[in-house]
Symmetry: C2
Subunit: 297 residues, 2 copies
Amino acid sequence: MRADPDRIVVCAGFLGGLGVLADLLRRRGARSVAVESYGLPHHRRLLRRAGCDTPPLPFDDRGTRPFDDAATARAVLLTPSHQFPLGLPLHPERRTALIDWARRTGGLVLEDDYDGEFRYDRQPVGALQGLDPDRVVYLGTASKSLAPGLRLGWLVLPPSLVEEVMDGMAGRTPGVLDQLTLAEFLGSGAYDRHVRAARLRYRRRRDALVAALAERAPDVRVTGIAAGLHAVLQLPPGTEQQAVRAAAWHGLAVHGLSTFRHPDAAVSPLDALVVGYGTPPDHAWAGALDALCRALP
Amino acid sequence: MRADPDRIVVCAGFLGGLGVLADLLRRRGARSVAVESYGLPHHRRLLRRAGCDTPPLPFDDRGTRPFDDAATARAVLLTPSHQFPLGLPLHPERRTALIDWARRTGGLVLEDDYDGEFRYDRQPVGALQGLDPDRVVYLGTASKSLAPGLRLGWLVLPPSLVEEVMDGMAGRTPGVLDQLTLAEFLGSGAYDRHVRAARLRYRRRRDALVAALAERAPDVRVTGIAAGLHAVLQLPPGTEQQAVRAAAWHGLAVHGLSTFRHPDAAVSPLDALVVGYGTPPDHAWAGALDALCRALP
Protein backbone atom coordinates (compact mmCIF):
# COMPACT_ATOMS: atom_id res chain seq x y z
CA MET A 1 0.00 0.00 0.00
CA ARG A 2 1.27 3.45 -0.91
CA ALA A 3 0.00 6.43 1.03
CA ASP A 4 0.84 10.09 1.24
CA PRO A 5 3.61 10.33 3.90
CA ASP A 6 1.78 13.28 5.46
CA ARG A 7 -1.01 10.90 6.46
CA ILE A 8 1.26 8.36 8.16
CA VAL A 9 1.96 8.52 11.90
CA VAL A 10 4.35 6.08 13.59
CA CYS A 11 2.92 4.72 16.83
CA ALA A 12 3.84 2.32 19.63
CA GLY A 13 2.58 -0.82 17.94
CA PHE A 14 -1.05 -1.55 17.11
CA LEU A 15 -2.13 -0.88 20.69
CA GLY A 16 -0.42 2.52 20.69
CA GLY A 17 -2.33 3.46 17.55
CA LEU A 18 -5.61 2.12 18.89
CA GLY A 19 -5.06 4.05 22.12
CA VAL A 20 -4.64 7.40 20.42
CA LEU A 21 -7.66 6.72 18.19
CA ALA A 22 -9.80 5.67 21.15
CA ASP A 23 -8.93 8.93 22.92
CA LEU A 24 -9.79 10.89 19.79
CA LEU A 25 -13.15 9.13 19.48
CA ARG A 26 -13.96 9.79 23.13
CA ARG A 27 -13.09 13.47 22.79
CA ARG A 28 -15.44 13.58 19.81
CA GLY A 29 -18.22 12.14 21.92
CA ALA A 30 -18.17 8.53 20.70
CA ARG A 31 -19.26 6.15 23.41
CA SER A 32 -19.26 2.99 21.34
CA VAL A 33 -16.82 1.25 18.99
CA ALA A 34 -18.26 -1.88 17.39
CA VAL A 35 -15.94 -4.89 17.20
CA GLU A 36 -15.96 -8.37 15.71
CA SER A 37 -17.60 -11.28 17.50
CA TYR A 38 -14.17 -12.91 17.71
CA GLY A 39 -11.06 -10.86 18.42
CA LEU A 40 -8.40 -10.09 20.98
CA PRO A 41 -9.85 -9.40 24.45
CA HIS A 42 -7.16 -6.83 25.26
CA HIS A 43 -8.21 -4.72 22.27
CA ARG A 44 -11.73 -4.56 23.64
CA ARG A 45 -10.37 -3.81 27.10
CA LEU A 46 -8.29 -0.89 25.81
CA LEU A 47 -11.37 0.59 24.12
CA ARG A 48 -13.50 0.19 27.23
CA ARG A 49 -10.81 1.76 29.39
CA ALA A 50 -10.83 4.72 27.03
CA GLY A 51 -14.55 5.09 27.69
CA CYS A 52 -16.06 3.26 24.70
CA ASP A 53 -18.48 0.33 24.79
CA THR A 54 -17.59 -2.47 22.40
CA PRO A 55 -20.78 -4.00 20.98
CA PRO A 56 -20.04 -7.14 18.92
CA LEU A 57 -21.03 -7.39 15.25
CA PRO A 58 -22.40 -10.73 14.02
CA PHE A 59 -20.76 -12.67 11.22
CA ASP A 60 -21.43 -15.44 8.72
CA ASP A 61 -19.41 -17.09 5.96
CA ARG A 62 -18.96 -13.76 4.20
CA GLY A 63 -17.40 -12.30 7.32
CA THR A 64 -18.60 -9.63 9.70
CA ARG A 65 -22.03 -8.11 9.03
CA PRO A 66 -21.70 -4.40 9.59
CA PHE A 67 -24.16 -2.73 11.87
CA ASP A 68 -27.24 -4.89 11.96
CA ASP A 69 -27.15 -4.76 15.73
CA ALA A 70 -24.77 -1.96 16.61
CA ALA A 71 -26.22 1.00 14.78
CA THR A 72 -25.30 3.46 17.51
CA ALA A 73 -21.56 2.87 17.19
CA ARG A 74 -19.53 5.75 15.81
CA ALA A 75 -16.69 3.53 14.73
CA VAL A 76 -15.89 -0.10 14.00
CA LEU A 77 -12.65 -1.97 14.57
CA LEU A 78 -12.06 -5.00 12.38
CA THR A 79 -9.52 -7.21 10.60
CA PRO A 80 -10.79 -7.20 7.01
CA SER A 81 -7.93 -8.85 5.16
CA HIS A 82 -7.53 -11.84 7.51
CA GLN A 83 -10.04 -11.97 10.33
CA PHE A 84 -8.39 -12.65 13.64
CA PRO A 85 -8.67 -15.41 14.70
CA LEU A 86 -11.12 -17.02 12.25
CA GLY A 87 -8.85 -16.30 9.31
CA LEU A 88 -11.26 -15.35 6.51
CA PRO A 89 -11.04 -12.22 4.38
CA LEU A 90 -14.04 -9.90 4.46
CA HIS A 91 -16.30 -10.53 1.44
CA PRO A 92 -16.28 -7.70 -1.15
CA GLU A 93 -20.01 -7.17 -0.60
CA ARG A 94 -19.36 -6.61 3.10
CA ARG A 95 -16.46 -4.28 2.41
CA THR A 96 -18.75 -2.14 0.31
CA ALA A 97 -21.49 -2.25 2.95
CA LEU A 98 -19.02 -1.12 5.59
CA ILE A 99 -17.85 1.86 3.56
CA ASP A 100 -21.49 2.71 2.81
CA TRP A 101 -22.24 2.72 6.53
CA ALA A 102 -19.27 4.99 7.23
CA ARG A 103 -20.30 7.46 4.52
CA ARG A 104 -23.96 7.45 5.53
CA THR A 105 -23.35 7.98 9.23
CA GLY A 106 -20.01 9.82 9.34
CA GLY A 107 -18.60 6.75 11.08
CA LEU A 108 -14.97 5.74 11.15
CA VAL A 109 -13.57 2.33 10.17
CA LEU A 110 -10.44 1.16 12.01
CA GLU A 111 -8.72 -1.40 9.77
CA ASP A 112 -6.42 -3.68 11.74
CA ASP A 113 -4.02 -5.22 9.19
CA TYR A 114 -2.19 -7.21 11.84
CA ASP A 115 -0.40 -9.71 9.59
CA GLY A 116 -0.71 -8.17 6.14
CA GLU A 117 2.85 -9.15 5.20
CA PHE A 118 2.16 -12.87 5.36
CA ARG A 119 -0.21 -13.83 2.57
CA TYR A 120 0.57 -17.11 0.87
CA ASP A 121 -1.88 -18.47 -1.62
CA ARG A 122 -3.65 -15.79 -3.51
CA GLN A 123 -3.52 -12.27 -4.79
CA PRO A 124 -3.06 -9.68 -2.08
CA VAL A 125 -6.30 -8.46 -0.54
CA GLY A 126 -6.47 -4.68 -1.04
CA ALA A 127 -6.57 -2.50 2.05
CA LEU A 128 -10.03 -1.25 2.95
CA GLN A 129 -8.40 2.13 3.33
CA GLY A 130 -8.03 2.26 -0.45
CA LEU A 131 -11.82 2.19 -0.85
CA ASP A 132 -12.31 5.40 1.10
CA PRO A 133 -9.21 7.08 2.55
CA ASP A 134 -11.45 9.67 4.22
CA ARG A 135 -13.41 7.14 6.27
CA VAL A 136 -10.89 4.42 7.08
CA VAL A 137 -7.86 4.47 9.39
CA TYR A 138 -5.34 1.78 8.48
CA LEU A 139 -3.34 0.33 11.38
CA GLY A 140 -0.17 -1.57 10.51
CA THR A 141 2.41 -3.08 12.83
CA ALA A 142 5.91 -4.53 12.83
CA SER A 143 4.87 -6.89 15.64
CA LYS A 144 4.41 -9.88 13.32
CA SER A 145 7.09 -9.06 10.75
CA LEU A 146 9.81 -8.11 13.28
CA ALA A 147 8.89 -8.49 16.95
CA PRO A 148 6.01 -7.37 19.18
CA GLY A 149 8.45 -6.10 21.82
CA LEU A 150 9.66 -3.37 19.46
CA ARG A 151 6.34 -1.53 19.88
CA LEU A 152 6.41 -0.14 16.36
CA GLY A 153 3.32 0.42 14.27
CA TRP A 154 1.84 3.00 11.94
CA LEU A 155 -1.43 4.70 11.21
CA VAL A 156 -2.53 5.79 7.75
CA LEU A 157 -5.05 8.51 8.48
CA PRO A 158 -7.82 10.41 6.76
CA PRO A 159 -6.42 13.91 6.18
CA SER A 160 -9.05 15.38 8.49
CA LEU A 161 -7.68 13.43 11.47
CA VAL A 162 -3.93 13.99 11.06
CA GLU A 163 -3.63 17.11 13.18
CA GLU A 164 -5.73 15.81 16.05
CA VAL A 165 -3.88 12.46 16.09
CA MET A 166 -0.51 14.21 16.05
CA ASP A 167 -1.63 16.28 19.01
CA GLY A 168 -2.77 13.14 20.83
CA MET A 169 0.60 11.44 20.24
CA ALA A 170 2.19 13.37 23.14
CA GLY A 171 3.58 10.71 25.48
CA ARG A 172 2.80 7.97 22.97
CA THR A 173 5.63 8.19 20.41
CA PRO A 174 8.11 5.32 20.11
CA GLY A 175 11.78 6.06 20.79
CA VAL A 176 13.55 7.85 17.98
CA LEU A 177 16.34 5.25 17.75
CA ASP A 178 13.78 2.55 17.00
CA GLN A 179 12.03 4.78 14.48
CA LEU A 180 15.26 5.65 12.69
CA THR A 181 16.34 2.01 12.66
CA LEU A 182 13.04 0.96 11.11
CA ALA A 183 13.29 3.75 8.52
CA GLU A 184 16.77 2.58 7.57
CA PHE A 185 15.57 -1.02 7.46
CA LEU A 186 12.72 -0.05 5.13
CA GLY A 187 14.74 2.34 2.98
CA SER A 188 17.61 -0.07 2.41
CA GLY A 189 15.34 -2.84 1.17
CA ALA A 190 16.43 -5.09 4.04
CA TYR A 191 12.92 -5.12 5.51
CA ASP A 192 11.44 -6.38 2.24
CA ARG A 193 14.09 -9.09 1.99
CA HIS A 194 13.43 -10.11 5.57
CA VAL A 195 9.67 -10.31 5.02
CA ARG A 196 10.08 -12.35 1.84
CA ALA A 197 12.36 -14.82 3.59
CA ALA A 198 10.05 -15.03 6.61
CA ARG A 199 7.01 -15.52 4.37
CA LEU A 200 8.68 -18.50 2.70
CA ARG A 201 9.64 -19.97 6.08
CA TYR A 202 6.16 -19.55 7.54
CA ARG A 203 4.54 -20.91 4.40
CA ARG A 204 6.61 -24.08 4.72
CA ARG A 205 5.54 -24.42 8.32
CA ARG A 206 1.94 -23.95 7.40
CA ASP A 207 2.22 -26.58 4.67
CA ALA A 208 3.84 -29.00 7.11
CA LEU A 209 1.06 -28.34 9.64
CA VAL A 210 -1.68 -28.93 7.08
CA ALA A 211 0.01 -32.09 5.76
CA ALA A 212 0.54 -33.53 9.24
CA LEU A 213 -3.07 -32.90 10.20
CA ALA A 214 -4.39 -34.39 6.94
CA GLU A 215 -2.47 -37.55 7.69
CA ARG A 216 -2.89 -37.89 11.43
CA ALA A 217 -6.12 -36.07 12.20
CA PRO A 218 -8.17 -36.29 9.00
CA ASP A 219 -11.41 -35.33 10.75
CA VAL A 220 -10.06 -31.94 11.85
CA ARG A 221 -10.96 -29.15 9.44
CA VAL A 222 -8.20 -26.54 9.09
CA THR A 223 -9.24 -23.01 8.11
CA GLY A 224 -7.84 -19.49 7.89
CA ILE A 225 -4.56 -20.61 6.37
CA ALA A 226 -4.34 -18.38 3.31
CA ALA A 227 -2.36 -15.87 5.33
CA GLY A 228 -0.87 -15.13 8.70
CA LEU A 229 0.86 -17.10 11.39
CA HIS A 230 -1.91 -19.23 12.78
CA ALA A 231 -4.49 -21.80 11.73
CA VAL A 232 -7.91 -22.61 13.15
CA LEU A 233 -8.49 -26.31 13.77
CA GLN A 234 -12.21 -27.01 13.99
CA LEU A 235 -13.07 -29.66 16.53
CA PRO A 236 -16.15 -31.78 17.31
CA PRO A 237 -18.61 -29.87 19.54
CA GLY A 238 -17.70 -29.96 23.22
CA THR A 239 -14.09 -31.04 22.78
CA GLU A 240 -12.27 -27.67 22.82
CA GLN A 241 -11.37 -27.49 26.50
CA GLN A 242 -10.22 -31.09 26.52
CA ALA A 243 -7.97 -30.44 23.49
CA VAL A 244 -6.49 -27.28 25.08
CA ARG A 245 -5.71 -29.22 28.24
CA ALA A 246 -4.19 -32.11 26.27
CA ALA A 247 -2.02 -29.67 24.29
CA ALA A 248 -0.84 -28.01 27.52
CA TRP A 249 -0.03 -31.46 28.89
CA HIS A 250 2.17 -31.96 25.82
CA GLY A 251 3.89 -28.62 26.50
CA LEU A 252 2.08 -26.62 23.81
CA ALA A 253 0.58 -23.17 24.32
CA VAL A 254 -2.45 -23.19 22.05
CA HIS A 255 -5.64 -21.26 22.67
CA GLY A 256 -9.17 -22.42 22.44
CA LEU A 257 -11.21 -20.33 20.02
CA SER A 258 -13.53 -19.45 22.91
CA THR A 259 -10.72 -17.31 24.41
CA PHE A 260 -11.35 -14.81 21.63
CA ARG A 261 -15.16 -14.86 21.64
CA HIS A 262 -16.83 -11.60 22.61
CA PRO A 263 -18.83 -12.36 25.76
CA ASP A 264 -21.90 -10.66 24.22
CA ALA A 265 -21.56 -12.24 20.78
CA ALA A 266 -24.87 -13.48 19.39
CA VAL A 267 -23.22 -16.26 17.37
CA SER A 268 -23.13 -19.83 18.65
CA PRO A 269 -19.79 -20.82 20.13
CA LEU A 270 -17.53 -22.86 17.85
CA ASP A 271 -15.16 -25.49 19.18
CA ALA A 272 -11.71 -24.97 17.71
CA LEU A 273 -8.04 -24.55 18.49
CA VAL A 274 -6.12 -21.44 17.40
CA VAL A 275 -2.64 -22.73 16.60
CA GLY A 276 0.16 -20.24 16.03
CA TYR A 277 2.98 -21.67 13.93
CA GLY A 278 5.40 -18.73 14.19
CA THR A 279 6.96 -20.58 17.12
CA PRO A 280 8.79 -22.71 18.29
CA PRO A 281 12.25 -22.42 16.67
CA ASP A 282 13.07 -24.80 13.83
CA HIS A 283 14.82 -27.43 15.93
CA ALA A 284 11.70 -27.88 18.06
CA TRP A 285 9.13 -27.58 15.29
CA ALA A 286 8.80 -31.25 14.29
CA GLY A 287 8.37 -32.26 17.92
CA ALA A 288 5.72 -29.60 18.49
CA LEU A 289 3.81 -30.73 15.41
CA ASP A 290 3.86 -34.31 16.63
CA ALA A 291 2.68 -33.23 20.09
CA LEU A 292 -0.18 -31.24 18.55
CA CYS A 293 -1.40 -34.22 16.55
CA ARG A 294 -1.35 -36.36 19.68
CA ALA A 295 -3.33 -33.75 21.61
CA LEU A 296 -6.24 -33.68 19.15
CA PRO A 297 -9.38 -35.64 19.94
CA MET B 1 16.33 7.28 45.53
CA ARG B 2 15.72 3.61 46.25
CA ALA B 3 12.27 2.19 45.74
CA ASP B 4 10.71 -1.25 45.76
CA PRO B 5 11.08 -2.53 42.15
CA ASP B 6 7.45 -3.67 42.24
CA ARG B 7 6.41 -0.04 42.42
CA ILE B 8 8.43 1.10 39.40
CA VAL B 9 6.90 1.21 35.92
CA VAL B 10 8.96 2.19 32.87
CA CYS B 11 7.11 4.63 30.63
CA ALA B 12 7.61 6.56 27.39
CA GLY B 13 9.36 9.55 28.95
CA PHE B 14 7.76 11.98 31.38
CA LEU B 15 4.86 12.63 29.01
CA GLY B 16 4.12 8.92 28.70
CA GLY B 17 3.96 8.66 32.48
CA LEU B 18 1.81 11.77 32.80
CA GLY B 19 -0.52 10.43 30.12
CA VAL B 20 -1.21 7.17 31.89
CA LEU B 21 -1.71 9.00 35.20
CA ALA B 22 -4.07 11.52 33.62
CA ASP B 23 -6.18 8.68 32.23
CA LEU B 24 -6.22 7.02 35.63
CA LEU B 25 -7.32 10.25 37.30
CA ARG B 26 -10.08 10.77 34.76
CA ARG B 27 -11.36 7.22 35.21
CA ARG B 28 -11.47 7.91 38.95
CA GLY B 29 -13.59 10.98 38.34
CA ALA B 30 -10.94 13.69 38.73
CA ARG B 31 -11.77 16.71 36.60
CA SER B 32 -8.98 18.94 37.83
CA VAL B 33 -5.21 18.64 38.28
CA ALA B 34 -3.64 21.74 39.84
CA VAL B 35 -0.36 22.89 38.31
CA GLU B 36 2.29 25.51 39.00
CA SER B 37 1.89 29.09 37.82
CA TYR B 38 4.95 28.59 35.64
CA GLY B 39 5.53 25.33 33.79
CA LEU B 40 5.59 23.64 30.40
CA PRO B 41 2.49 24.46 28.33
CA HIS B 42 2.45 21.03 26.71
CA HIS B 43 2.12 19.37 30.12
CA ARG B 44 -1.02 21.40 30.77
CA ARG B 45 -2.27 20.60 27.28
CA LEU B 46 -1.83 16.86 27.81
CA LEU B 47 -3.83 17.06 31.06
CA ARG B 48 -6.62 19.08 29.44
CA ARG B 49 -6.79 16.66 26.51
CA ALA B 50 -7.22 13.85 29.02
CA GLY B 51 -10.23 15.70 30.41
CA CYS B 52 -8.71 17.53 33.41
CA ASP B 53 -8.76 21.26 34.07
CA THR B 54 -5.42 22.68 35.17
CA PRO B 55 -5.98 25.44 37.74
CA PRO B 56 -2.71 27.26 38.57
CA LEU B 57 -1.37 27.39 42.12
CA PRO B 58 0.17 30.68 43.32
CA PHE B 59 3.75 30.90 44.52
CA ASP B 60 6.10 33.12 46.49
CA ASP B 61 9.74 32.91 47.52
CA ARG B 62 9.12 29.63 49.34
CA GLY B 63 7.76 28.12 46.15
CA THR B 64 4.29 26.97 45.19
CA ARG B 65 1.52 27.49 47.76
CA PRO B 66 -0.56 24.35 47.77
CA PHE B 67 -4.28 24.70 47.39
CA ASP B 68 -5.21 28.16 48.53
CA ASP B 69 -7.14 28.65 45.33
CA ALA B 70 -7.52 25.22 43.85
CA ALA B 71 -9.16 23.24 46.60
CA THR B 72 -11.29 21.21 44.22
CA ALA B 73 -8.33 19.61 42.48
CA ARG B 74 -7.88 15.89 43.07
CA ALA B 75 -4.20 15.98 42.19
CA VAL B 76 -1.32 18.40 41.79
CA LEU B 77 1.57 18.26 39.34
CA LEU B 78 4.74 20.05 40.37
CA THR B 79 8.55 20.17 40.22
CA PRO B 80 9.52 20.26 43.90
CA SER B 81 13.27 19.74 43.73
CA HIS B 82 13.98 22.36 41.06
CA GLN B 83 10.96 24.32 39.92
CA PHE B 84 10.71 24.51 36.15
CA PRO B 85 11.50 27.11 34.96
CA LEU B 86 12.03 29.35 37.99
CA GLY B 87 14.64 27.03 39.46
CA LEU B 88 13.91 27.11 43.21
CA PRO B 89 13.43 24.07 45.41
CA LEU B 90 10.15 23.81 47.25
CA HIS B 91 10.52 25.06 50.84
CA PRO B 92 10.31 22.31 53.51
CA GLU B 93 7.26 24.02 55.01
CA ARG B 94 5.48 23.82 51.65
CA ARG B 95 6.52 20.21 51.16
CA THR B 96 4.87 19.35 54.46
CA ALA B 97 1.77 21.37 53.59
CA LEU B 98 1.47 19.55 50.31
CA ILE B 99 1.64 16.13 51.93
CA ASP B 100 -0.85 17.29 54.55
CA TRP B 101 -3.25 18.33 51.81
CA ALA B 102 -2.87 14.95 50.09
CA ARG B 103 -3.54 13.04 53.31
CA ARG B 104 -6.47 15.22 54.29
CA THR B 105 -8.25 15.06 50.95
CA GLY B 106 -7.10 11.75 49.49
CA GLY B 107 -5.37 13.77 46.79
CA LEU B 108 -2.44 12.63 44.70
CA VAL B 109 0.85 14.49 44.24
CA LEU B 110 2.63 14.05 40.90
CA GLU B 111 6.32 14.83 41.48
CA ASP B 112 8.11 15.78 38.27
CA ASP B 113 11.83 15.29 38.94
CA TYR B 114 12.77 16.38 35.44
CA ASP B 115 16.49 17.08 36.01
CA GLY B 116 17.19 15.40 39.34
CA GLU B 117 20.58 14.08 38.16
CA PHE B 118 22.09 17.53 37.76
CA ARG B 119 22.44 19.15 41.15
CA TYR B 120 25.63 21.11 41.67
CA ASP B 121 25.99 23.18 44.79
CA ARG B 122 24.30 21.61 47.72
CA GLN B 123 23.13 18.45 49.31
CA PRO B 124 20.62 16.53 47.25
CA VAL B 125 17.03 17.57 47.78
CA GLY B 126 15.11 14.50 48.91
CA ALA B 127 12.29 13.27 46.74
CA LEU B 128 8.86 14.29 47.94
CA GLN B 129 7.89 10.68 47.36
CA GLY B 130 9.98 9.74 50.40
CA LEU B 131 7.70 11.81 52.64
CA ASP B 132 4.63 9.77 51.77
CA PRO B 133 5.03 6.93 49.27
CA ASP B 134 1.28 6.31 49.42
CA ARG B 135 0.32 9.80 48.26
CA VAL B 136 3.07 10.79 45.83
CA VAL B 137 3.87 9.49 42.36
CA TYR B 138 7.48 10.16 41.39
CA LEU B 139 8.14 10.74 37.69
CA GLY B 140 11.72 10.42 36.49
CA THR B 141 13.07 10.63 32.96
CA ALA B 142 16.20 9.92 30.94
CA SER B 143 15.37 12.88 28.70
CA LYS B 144 17.88 15.18 30.40
CA SER B 145 20.53 12.62 31.33
CA LEU B 146 20.52 10.76 27.99
CA ALA B 147 18.25 12.21 25.28
CA PRO B 148 14.59 13.24 25.05
CA GLY B 149 14.16 11.31 21.78
CA LEU B 150 14.68 8.02 23.62
CA ARG B 151 11.26 8.39 25.26
CA LEU B 152 12.32 6.61 28.44
CA GLY B 153 11.02 7.50 31.87
CA TRP B 154 9.82 5.79 35.03
CA LEU B 155 7.09 6.07 37.58
CA VAL B 156 7.52 5.20 41.24
CA LEU B 157 3.99 4.47 42.36
CA PRO B 158 1.99 4.16 45.54
CA PRO B 159 1.30 0.42 45.93
CA SER B 160 -2.44 1.04 45.56
CA LEU B 161 -1.97 2.39 42.01
CA VAL B 162 0.41 -0.20 40.56
CA GLU B 163 -2.18 -2.58 39.14
CA GLU B 164 -4.31 0.14 37.54
CA VAL B 165 -1.29 1.87 36.03
CA MET B 166 0.03 -1.41 34.63
CA ASP B 167 -3.36 -2.01 33.05
CA GLY B 168 -3.31 1.49 31.58
CA MET B 169 0.14 0.96 30.06
CA ALA B 170 -1.32 -1.01 27.13
CA GLY B 171 -0.14 0.80 24.00
CA ARG B 172 2.14 3.04 26.05
CA THR B 173 5.20 0.90 26.80
CA PRO B 174 8.57 1.85 25.32
CA GLY B 175 10.24 -0.67 23.01
CA VAL B 176 11.88 -3.58 24.76
CA LEU B 177 15.28 -2.99 23.11
CA ASP B 178 15.43 0.50 24.59
CA GLN B 179 14.34 -0.80 27.99
CA LEU B 180 16.92 -3.59 27.99
CA THR B 181 19.64 -1.19 26.87
CA LEU B 182 18.81 1.21 29.69
CA ALA B 183 18.76 -1.66 32.20
CA GLU B 184 22.21 -2.77 31.02
CA PHE B 185 23.43 0.83 31.15
CA LEU B 186 22.18 1.21 34.72
CA GLY B 187 23.31 -2.22 35.91
CA SER B 188 26.84 -1.90 34.52
CA GLY B 189 27.48 1.41 36.26
CA ALA B 190 27.96 3.14 32.91
CA TYR B 191 24.90 5.31 33.45
CA ASP B 192 26.29 6.62 36.75
CA ARG B 193 29.66 7.34 35.15
CA HIS B 194 27.94 9.14 32.30
CA VAL B 195 25.84 11.26 34.65
CA ARG B 196 28.85 12.17 36.80
CA ALA B 197 30.82 13.25 33.74
CA ALA B 198 27.86 15.18 32.34
CA ARG B 199 27.26 16.87 35.69
CA LEU B 200 30.85 18.11 35.74
CA ARG B 201 30.59 19.37 32.16
CA TYR B 202 27.29 21.16 32.77
CA ARG B 203 28.56 22.63 36.00
CA ARG B 204 31.52 24.16 34.16
CA ARG B 205 29.15 25.60 31.60
CA ARG B 206 26.97 27.06 34.31
CA ASP B 207 30.00 28.60 36.03
CA ALA B 208 31.15 30.11 32.73
CA LEU B 209 27.66 31.50 32.12
CA VAL B 210 27.46 33.06 35.58
CA ALA B 211 30.98 34.52 35.31
CA ALA B 212 30.35 35.99 31.85
CA LEU B 213 27.12 37.60 32.99
CA ALA B 214 28.73 39.01 36.16
CA GLU B 215 31.34 40.65 34.01
CA ARG B 216 29.35 41.80 31.01
CA ALA B 217 25.78 42.20 32.30
CA PRO B 218 26.18 42.94 36.02
CA ASP B 219 22.61 44.24 36.34
CA VAL B 220 21.10 40.92 35.30
CA ARG B 221 20.21 38.73 38.27
CA VAL B 222 20.78 35.03 37.60
CA THR B 223 18.65 32.53 39.54
CA GLY B 224 17.78 28.87 39.61
CA ILE B 225 21.34 27.72 39.04
CA ALA B 226 21.84 25.25 41.89
CA ALA B 227 20.75 22.46 39.59
CA GLY B 228 19.59 21.60 36.12
CA LEU B 229 20.45 22.71 32.62
CA HIS B 230 19.06 26.21 32.51
CA ALA B 231 19.31 29.55 34.28
CA VAL B 232 16.77 32.31 34.69
CA LEU B 233 18.08 35.78 33.82
CA GLN B 234 15.88 38.41 35.42
CA LEU B 235 15.46 41.50 33.27
CA PRO B 236 14.18 45.02 33.82
CA PRO B 237 10.37 45.18 33.49
CA GLY B 238 9.15 45.40 29.91
CA THR B 239 12.37 44.22 28.26
CA GLU B 240 11.72 40.48 27.88
CA GLN B 241 10.34 40.44 24.35
CA GLN B 242 13.07 42.75 23.14
CA ALA B 243 15.75 40.49 24.67
CA VAL B 244 14.20 37.35 23.11
CA ARG B 245 14.19 39.05 19.71
CA ALA B 246 17.76 40.25 20.12
CA ALA B 247 18.86 36.74 21.10
CA ALA B 248 17.10 35.27 18.05
CA TRP B 249 18.82 37.86 15.88
CA HIS B 250 22.13 36.55 17.28
CA GLY B 251 21.10 33.00 16.40
CA LEU B 252 20.16 31.90 19.93
CA ALA B 253 17.01 29.99 20.84
CA VAL B 254 16.20 31.29 24.30
CA HIS B 255 12.69 31.57 25.71
CA GLY B 256 11.10 34.43 27.51
CA LEU B 257 9.81 33.40 30.93
CA SER B 258 6.33 34.46 29.82
CA THR B 259 6.27 31.43 27.48
CA PHE B 260 5.88 29.25 30.56
CA ARG B 261 3.38 31.37 32.48
CA HIS B 262 -0.01 29.77 33.05
CA PRO B 263 -2.54 32.02 31.29
CA ASP B 264 -4.72 32.04 34.43
CA ALA B 265 -1.87 32.58 36.91
CA ALA B 266 -2.68 35.18 39.56
CA VAL B 267 0.95 36.22 39.98
CA SER B 268 2.33 39.31 38.24
CA PRO B 269 4.34 38.53 35.12
CA LEU B 270 8.11 38.59 35.56
CA ASP B 271 10.45 39.66 32.80
CA ALA B 272 13.21 37.12 32.36
CA LEU B 273 15.01 34.86 29.92
CA VAL B 274 15.14 31.10 30.38
CA VAL B 275 18.57 30.11 29.07
CA GLY B 276 19.35 26.44 28.55
CA TYR B 277 23.07 25.71 28.63
CA GLY B 278 22.94 22.02 27.68
CA THR B 279 23.49 23.15 24.08
CA PRO B 280 25.28 24.11 21.82
CA PRO B 281 28.25 21.69 21.47
CA ASP B 282 31.53 22.71 23.05
CA HIS B 283 33.08 24.24 19.95
CA ALA B 284 30.16 26.71 19.67
CA TRP B 285 29.71 27.40 23.37
CA ALA B 286 32.02 30.41 23.76
CA GLY B 287 30.44 32.10 20.75
CA ALA B 288 26.93 31.47 22.06
CA LEU B 289 27.85 32.92 25.44
CA ASP B 290 29.24 36.02 23.78
CA ALA B 291 26.10 36.38 21.65
CA LEU B 292 23.90 36.04 24.74
CA CYS B 293 25.74 38.84 26.55
CA ARG B 294 25.33 41.07 23.52
CA ALA B 295 21.60 40.33 23.33
CA LEU B 296 20.88 41.45 26.89
CA PRO B 297 19.45 44.91 27.49
